[in-house]
Each structure stands twice: as C-alpha cells, then as structure tokens.
Amino acid sequence: MDKEVRSYEYKPSKTWWLGNRRYALYMVRELSGFAVAVYGFIFLAQLFTLSQGPLAYDALLGVLLSPAGILLSTILLVFAIFHSLTWFDLTAKVQPPSMKGKPVPRKIVVTGTIIIWLFISYFVAVFIFRVG
C-alpha cells in the first residue's frame, strides 16, 4: 500500500527573484555584501602599500583618485550604505530594546541607530581630516 506515485517537481527558474520586490531587494543586498568586501580589500591594499613606502602609497592613491577610481568608490559607497541600512533595519527587528517592559517601536530604533551611525561617522571624518 506504500506504492510510489509519480509526483511532479517544479524547478526554480533563473529569474525567480525578479517577480517580487523583496526577492529583488534581497539579491541587491547580497550583491552589496560584495561591495563591502571590495572596500575591505582596498583598505588592505592601502595598508600594504603604506608598508612599502610613500611612493607605492601615492601610486595607489593616484589610481583611486582618478575619475574611474572615484566612480568605483561612489558605486561602492552607495552599496555599502544600502548594506548598512538593511543591517540596522534587521538589528532593530531581532533585538528590539525595551523601555519600561515594552519594546521600542522599530522605526524609532532604526532612526536612532542611523543617527548614532552618522554621529560616529562625523567624528571619524573630523579625526581623519584634522590628522590629514
């Protein structure tokens, strides 16, 4: 009585993520992870050239400051910001802080973390440009 019957299996299409806004956003977010990785790589490269002396470092800086380099950086920046924002959004959902026993509304947590993030970025920028 356990005879097998032929059941049908749907194969996922290659474009499954195009039909739904959330799936598409998800793919963009996955892609933005790649952008963050590239940023990390550039940072490592900068550290490496720095260890090789000012000449090497300036050469790299020249590449980064070329119009193509700036374009690349801008694209990477957009992706990195997108990635960060989705991260804050996520954190607000997973670990919502509570006030007087009631969870703080998600919007407030997200906005709060973004403000903190901008604040820290400001100090980092000030630090860098003063030093520079």
Binding site: M1, D2, K3, E4, V5
Partner: protein
C-alpha cells in the same frame, strides 16, 4: 495488496485520538500503535475549538458542582457515574496538557486562568486565548512525535471495520495519496473520528466531519446512542457558519435583537447570555419567529455585541473572534456588533460505549465526539467536550493497551475476506460504476437541506416523517452515484462519495431516534410534545443496523446522587 499490522489502530488524529495514542504509547512501550487519519493530524477539527476546557481548578469550585452543572445541562440524560469520573479526571488532564507545553492563558500569579461559560455555575473553563482547541491539538500532535512506538498513516481513509463474530480484526482503508486499498490488521481499534455536523446545511463543523466512525461502527454491529440530540451553537456567522465562541459571552458579550434589546431577559433572566446552548438557540429562533430578528442575505440573525468589553479585553481574550469577524463579515467587534445565528455544532449522540470507552464488540473502543459515553446526555455544556477528549482519550488508550495484551492476533483469513469484499464494494461498485448518474453534490445538498428544514431546533412528527421518507430516497439515489474522477491518486471525489454514504446513515439514525422520542429534552424539542417525559423517556435511545434497516431500542440512564428535577435556570 499488502498487509500492515499493528497492536492498536486509532482512527482519527484529533484531540481524542492523539490523547488515546499517547496514553497507549506511555502505558506500554512494547505495543505497536498506529494513528490512521484522513487528514494530517494537525488539520483535525479539534483545531477549530475556541472557548476552553472545563475542569475544577479553583478552591471555590468542587467536583459535585461541576457534576451537577453537567447533569442539569444534560437534562438528566447523562450517566451520572460517567460524569463523576469525568469531573475528577478533568483537572489532572488539564495539568497534564500544561506539562506537555500547552500555552494556557495565565493569571498574574502564574496559575492557569479560568473564564465563565454557559451553564457552568462558576468560572471553571481553562483556556488559551480563544484558540484553545488549536493549541491543544498542536500540543498533543507535537508531543505525540516523541514516541517511537507510534506510527502515523496520514491521509489514509478508513472505509470499514473488519468484524468477525464478536470482535474486530482491524480496518480497511484507502491510502489517499496513491489510491491503493488494503487492510490494517490490529488486535484493537479505537474510533476517534469526531462528529457529523456535515449532515446539516448550516454548521460550525469542518467539511471532514462526516460521521465516518459512527457509520462504520453501526455497520459493524454496534449501536449508536442518543443520536437525536444535536447541539445547535447559538452564535455562528450567517452564511459560513464560522463559530463565534461562547467565550465571547463568557467574557461578558450581549445578545441583542433588532430592537437593541437583550431579549434573553424574557427567557433566562437569571443566566442571561450564560445560559446553556439548547435554551439560547431556541430563544434566538423564537425571536426570529416573532419578527424580532434582523434580516440579511442569509436569513435572520441577531447581534452579538462585544463593544462594551473594550479593545484590550477583546484583543487579549478574544483575538480570534475579532480576526474572524473582520475577515469573514468585514465587521470589527470593537466598534460594531457581530451578526450571529444558531448553527449545528456538536453531536451528543454517537457510538455506544461504557464508562471505559469499550463498545459491544471485543477490541473496539470509541472516544471523543464520535462516541457517546453518556457524559453529555441531551445537551452538552460548553467546554466539556475538550475535557471529554482528554479524559476519555486517556481512558481509551489505557484500556486498549490492556486489551491488546490479552487479545489474540487478528485472523488473516477474516481480514483477507473482508478486504476482498470491501475493495469490490468501493472500487468496482462505486469508483468504476460507469452507469451512475447521480451527482454527489446534489444528493449531499438535498440531504443537508432536508435535515436543516425538518430535523432542526424545533421538531414535529410530520416534518420528521418527511425527513425519514427523503432519507430513504437519498439512500436509493446514492446507489446510483457517479464518481467523475476515475484516477486513483488523491481521488477526493471517491472519498466524498464514501463520506456521503456515511452521512446518509447518520441522518437516518438521527431521524429514527428523533421520531421515536415523543418528548422534549435538552436539544431535542418537539412542538407536538413540548414537555419532558421522565416516565417513558428517562432512557437512552439506541439504533441498530439490522438487514439494511434501523431498529430503535432503549437503555436505562445511570443515576447516582442527583434525582431528575425540573430544569430551570
């Protein structure tokens, strides 16, 4: 055909079936137990139970009081030894469910909360918001997965009991997923297939509740008891029949007619909305007859008004009622009253069992709504049915486990003969019947309409006789039924034909018993005999299947402490 064999087979994976399965599995880990269900267990209709589970949980309450409420609610037709056993066991079962993880609602001190319910003289209904059945069913199912000696046959449709002389040898069944037919051998069978609300047009019951187990037992030679007692729940949504739990009145909701009047003051001034279901349903129907109902697309209705409870109470205690009303009738009970009318909800009657859930057949047990252990008599009190599933489910499991150790193996010969006969009936007689020209849906709709019109809340001889004649016609028409789907895989057209076959037997049993009971008691109200008649009818009715006809007989009621008295609230 292959042979599958187990020590115990439980038909039905709802509250009663799963509780029995767990009890048997815990009693003896060497027993091989199977649950056979036509749906995945978590789809069983227990899932729709809302209000709660009745049990004595507080110091202000006691067993005698719960017993008395139940007996009075039953209009003295409950067996009092059964009631006394039940009320003592119910609290233990509620605690057992708690230990298994049921998310009961809690008081501030951490104890289980209780709420008021119709016909209960104090607050004793334990609940989990207003999805009590849902939480209980999932708790039982999830807990049942832990036993290695439990096997599930999900989506297997039982078609008959295998009976020889005075005992069962198992069941015949269709594996719905692949369409194969065969036997499941067993020493012991527990029927836990639930009620038969689908025999009426307008019901709170799920479509799976087609009285399969009752009909199978009846054909196997076991009597059905008290079948004339059909409970109409006073508050269901018009059209769909979706249940608006009694807890909405337990929490303080009002029933209001078209004049905005709490009309129950004319019927039940003491109890008002917390009266028993039979009296409330009759009161609503009387309002309709006297022109004080509201008028809608699906006929008359009254209002269930929860507005004065406030949003917070509704959201914490009755969230499902709010969700359902918003979804299905577009009404938010926080701001508007909900349209409701009575609908068939529960069969007090069922497979005749003793206090140990045993039937007249050796090795056959029945439990839950399918059974009539005589806890509910002529009218069940709200919240006693979930407790009944637990208390007697546990009894059935333990008793079946004991019996399985004593009974010999089922006879392969008997089983083979039964399977051959049943396979011929189902496959050759029904599925492959090329000349059939009666539509399943037509017969079913006619049957349900007849029952609604003639065997409803108010009954009388003339109408009951009409119903009896028509049921005969339905039986004849069914003999010529057409199954359009000739495929074997997942053929729900075939199972629908078989369910209709069962439903016709159920209708017949209800009508026969109702015709013979020339008195009014509990849910059975006869316009032509409006008084209770203890001299002639303080007894259970039994229907037997004899040569394709039904014979009605009677059985005395067991009385322990509470002598029958007038039922006044």
């Amino acid at each position: 055909m292959e042979n599958l064999s187990h020590d115990i087979i439980i038909i039905g994976g709802g509250g009663a079936g799963l509780r029995a399965a767990i009890a048997a599995a815990e009693q003896d880990s060497t027993l091989d137990i199977a649950v056979v269900s036509k749906v995945y267990p978590m789809r069983s209709h227990t899932v729709s139970a809302e209000g709660g589970t009745g049990a004595v949980m507080r110091d202000y309450d006691n067993f005698d009081l719960h017993s008395f409420d139940t007996i009075k609610g039953s209009d003295y037709l409950a067996d009092q030894d059964v009631v006394e056993y039940f009320v003592k066991e119910a609290p233990k079962e509620v605690i057992q469910m708690e230990h298994w993880g049921c998310p009961w609602s809690r008081d501030e001190d951490g104890h289980l909360s209780v709420r008021a319910f119709g016909g209960m003289s104090v607050k004793r209904t334990v609940y989990a918001a207003d999805k009590t059945g849902f939480f209980m069913l999932h708790t039982l199912y999830q807990n049942s997965l832990k036993y290695d000696n439990l096997t599930f046959y999900d989506e297997w449709f039982a078609t008959s009991l295998i009976v020889d002389g005075n005992r069962t040898h198992g069941i015949t069944a269709i594996n719905i997923k692949n369409g194969s037919f065969g036997a499941l051998h067993s020493r012991v069978v527990i029927i836990a297939t639930g009620g038969a609300g689908q025999v009426y047009q307008f019901t709170t019951n799920a479509q799976i509740k087609t009285g399969d187990g009752m009909a199978m037992a009846l054909r196997g030679g076991v009597a059905l008891k008290d079948m004339e007692f059909v409970q109409f729940h006073p508050t269901a949504l018009p059209g769909t029949g979706i249940l608006m739990t009694e807890a909405s009145r337990g929490e303080g909701g009002y029933l209001v007619n078209k004049d905005g009047e709490r009309f129950l003051k004319r019927y039940l001034p003491e109890k008002m909305e917390l009266g028993p279901r039979d009296i409330l349903s009759r009161a609503i129907m009387t309002e309709f007859r006297e022109g004080r109902g509201l008028e809608g697309k699906y006929g008359n209705y009254v209002h269930l008004d929860l507005r004065h409870l406030g949003k917070e109470t509704i959201d914490t205690k009755l969230p499902f009622v709010r969700e359902l009303a918003k979804e299905y009738v577009g009404i938010d009970p926080v701001y508007e009253p909900i349209p409701v009318r009575p609908a068939v909800h529960y069969m007090m009657g069922g497979v005749n069992t003793d206090i140990n859930t045993q039937t007249s057949l050796e090795g056959l047990y029945a439990v839950g709504e399918v059974a009539c252990v005589s806890l509910n008599g002529a009218n069940r009190l709200g919240s006693n049915s979930l407790s009944e599933c637990l208390v007697f489910g546990a009894v059935a499991g333990r008793e079946a486990a004991k019996k399985a150790k004593k009974l010999a193996k089922p006879s392969t010969e008997v089983v083979a003969k039964s399977v051959a006969r049943e396979e011929k009936r189902v496959y050759d007689g029904i599925l492959k019947n090329e000349t059939g020209n009666e539509s399943i849906a037509d017969i079913r709709n006619d049957l349900r309409r007849t029952m609604e019109e003639n065997v409803g809340i108010f009954r009388e001889e003339k109408k009951l006789k009409t119903a009896a004649d028509e049921v005969k016609q339905f039986r004849k028409r069914w003999g010529n039924v057409r199954v359009e789907d000739k495929n074997s895989v997942f053929n729900t057209n075939l199972t629908a034909a078989l369910e209709l076959d069962f439903l016709i037997d159920i209708a017949n049993s209800v009508v026969r018993s109702a015709l013979k009971r020339t008195e009014s008691r509990g849910s059975h109200y006869r316009n032509d005999y409006p008084k209770r008649d203890d001299t002639n009818f303080l007894k259970h009715s039994l229907v037997f299947y004899e040569k394709d006809k039904l014979r009605v007989d009677y059985l005395p009621v067991t009385i322990t402490k509470w002598q029958p008295a007038e039922r006044v609230y």
